[in-house]
């Protein structure tokens, strides 16, 4: 049945491609989450009227975020070649895609984090201050905790954008389903390979969305 519909698909290669896609998506998602939260918190806390109000820091962080969001992903990979080579020691394979994936999506997620934090009621922050809370307590136990559903749904959106980016990274030899579809499918004119890769990516996206919604709803007690 499978061989009749997809005569050119090598199951072992396909499995490797799926594994690589997951590998790139999940690792870069973790990196994006950490850097995005830090940048998002910085953007929020240094903005006007907040705990660390500071025009200069806000300006610098906002500029960095905007610059990296403005660079198209495919160009970002090329730009980062020297950096990647230095950090990872190679410019090929799934590991080599990670720096570009993280640097490309962390600023995007940072903006989503900033928006999520802005949604936290200022009154609650004030109540915590009135209780004598430290800034760190306010950050971790009030701001991040109260905005958790929005942080998770933002991460879901970012994850799906990341899956797309991993496919683009595939084109320059990072591996994964994008790589597989381009080299084995498109270049060899085996369109069943392109088709199965598309199908799988769509399924992966659905799975991420489903899990993200589930967690976000579970956390949301409003």
């Amino acid at each position: 049945m499978f061989e009749k519909w997809f005569p050119n698909v090598d199951i072992a290669d396909l499995n490797t491609a799926i594994y690589e896609t997951f590998y790139m998506t999940i690792l870069s998602l973790i990196g994006t989450f950490i850097i995005g939260i830090i940048l998002g918190l910085l953007l929020y806390l240094t903005s006007k009227g907040k705990l660390w109000e500071n025009k200069v820091v806000y300006g610098i962080v906002a500029a960095i975020v905007n610059i990296f969001r403005a660079i198209p992903f495919i160009i970002l990979i090329l730009l980062l070649f020297p950096f990647t080579d230095f950090i990872v020691g190679t410019i090929r394979g799934p590991e080599a895609a990670l720096p570009a994936l993280i640097i490309g999506s962390a600023p995007f997620y940072a903006r989503l984090v900033e928006i999520a934090l802005k949604e936290v009621d200022n009154g609650v922050v004030e109540a915590a201050k009135a209780m004598g809370a430290k800034n760190s307590t306010i950050m971790f136990k009030v701001l991040l905790k109260e905005s958790m559903p929005a942080l998770v749904s933002g991460l879901t959106v970012t994850a799906i954008a990341l899956i797309g980016s991993t496919a683009v990274a595939g084109v320059i030899g990072a591996g994964g389903l994008g790589d597989f579809a381009y080299f084995y499918g498109f270049q060899r004119r085996q369109f069943d390979v392109v088709f199965i890769c598309t199908l799988l990516i769509v399924i992966v996206v659905f799975v991420f969305q489903f899990i993200g919604d589930l967690i976000s709803n579970k956390l949301d007690k409003r």
């Binding site: 009621d121 201050k129 209780m131 004598g132």
Partner: protein, 340 residues
């Protein structure tokens, strides 16, 4: 307990300076419920937020428990704040935490160990009457219940002072009453000093011992709640007092009310302290006079009854005279009115 000297808060913008609190002086005694009333924009909310420095004062001193809050550094201020509870108009609960976890939050901040935290929260839940709702989230509670959580949370670290920023303004009248009862109960049981901000005279009447009336950043009138009610000096205070009885009509009597001109018309003025609450019925029992209540309005406040009552006393002259003496002996001012 709380001494405030020359407290000012000026908001500086590029175009102008706005003085929200203007050279304010106040002394609040230990264990009293002190009300601050004013219209929106009078500076009362800014004032209460200055007390725990949610707003930074521009000038002045705030001495709470012998310590000047204004001079304290960040860390000292944090510790001082743990001894000042605060409740808010919109409750400001953490929606991601249950009732129990919300009340435990200030204890976590103060570093209270887990076991002790649990015991304390259980006691507080009992105190504010939320037993059985420990594991509910704020979104599952009514407004009154949310404010009860707010109160329990404010009391968690055994504060000496409780600040109430329009604590009942978002609640319906019935719920307001139950929350006010709770505040009075806490005040009596724990001997807490309570500073309460409101725009509702009703709240002041029901629970405050003393009151300050604020207008454009200044205290324009201050004194015993009952006294201010009975004898308001400033126009703005009079307006607030009118909120309660609708108008000033009860302070004078129109001749039209008394159709049959027999007997003596007397105006009784209740002024608060040590008023014999049953003076009218006792007079009727002890003296051979008929009493006809013409009109009046008497309000119960924390420190006694306040208001005027117009009576028509019918009987022979000496008996009426004796009755009036009896009434005066009960600390109630009685003036015989001439009918026009």
């Amino acid at each position: 307990m709380i001494t405030i000297k020359n407290l000012s808060k000026i908001y500086r913008t590029k175009k102008q300076n706005i003085t929200a609190v203007d050279e304010l002086n106040l002394t609040i005694e230990s264990g009293e419920i002190f009300g601050v009333i004013g219209y929106s924009g009078a500076g009362k909310s800014t004032f209460v937020r200055l007390l725990n420095r949610l707003e930074e004062p521009t000038a002045g001193e705030i001495i709470i428990n012998g310590k000047d809050i204004v001079k304290q550094r960040k860390n000292e201020l944090r510790l001082a704040r743990q001894e000042i509870g605060m409740i808010f108009q919109h409750f400001n609960l953490l929606w991601s935490r249950t009732v129990h976890q919300n009340i435990a939050f200030p204890l976590e901040i103060a570093g209270v160990p887990k076991q002790e935290r649990k015991e304390k929260v259980d006691r507080l839940i009992e105190l504010v009457g939320l037993k059985g709702r420990e594991n509910a989230y704020p979104s599952q509670l009514s407004g009154g219940q949310k404010q009860r959580v707010g109160i329990a949370r404010a009391l968690a670290n055994d504060p000496k002072v409780l600040l109430c920023d329009e604590a009942t303004s978002a609640l319906d009248p019935e719920t307001t009453d139950s929350i006010l009862d709770l505040i009075v109960d806490i005040n009596k049981r724990l001997g807490l000093t309570i500073v309460l901000i409101t725009h509702e005279m009703n709240v002041i009447r029901k629970i405050c011992h003393r009151v300050a009336v604020m207008d454009t950043g200044k205290v324009v009138e201050e004194g015993d709640a009952a006294h201010v009610f009975q004898d308001p000096q400033q126009a703005i205070t009079k307006r607030f007092v009118q909120q309660l009885d609708g108008s000033e009509q009860y302070n004078s009597l129109s001749a039209a009310v008394v159709k049959e001109g027999t007997g003596t018309i007397v105006k009784l003025s209740f002024s608060g302290e040590n008023v014999n609450q049953t003076v009218v019925s006792q007079t009727a029992k002890q003296f051979d006079v008929d009493i006809n209540i013409l009109q009046g309005s008497v309000l119960q406040t924390q420190t006694g009854a306040v208001g005027n009552l117009f009576l028509q006393l019918v009987g022979n002259e000496s008996e009426v005279e004796k009755a009036l003496d009896f009434i005066r002996g009960a600390n109630v001012k009685a003036e015989v009115q001439e009918l026009v």
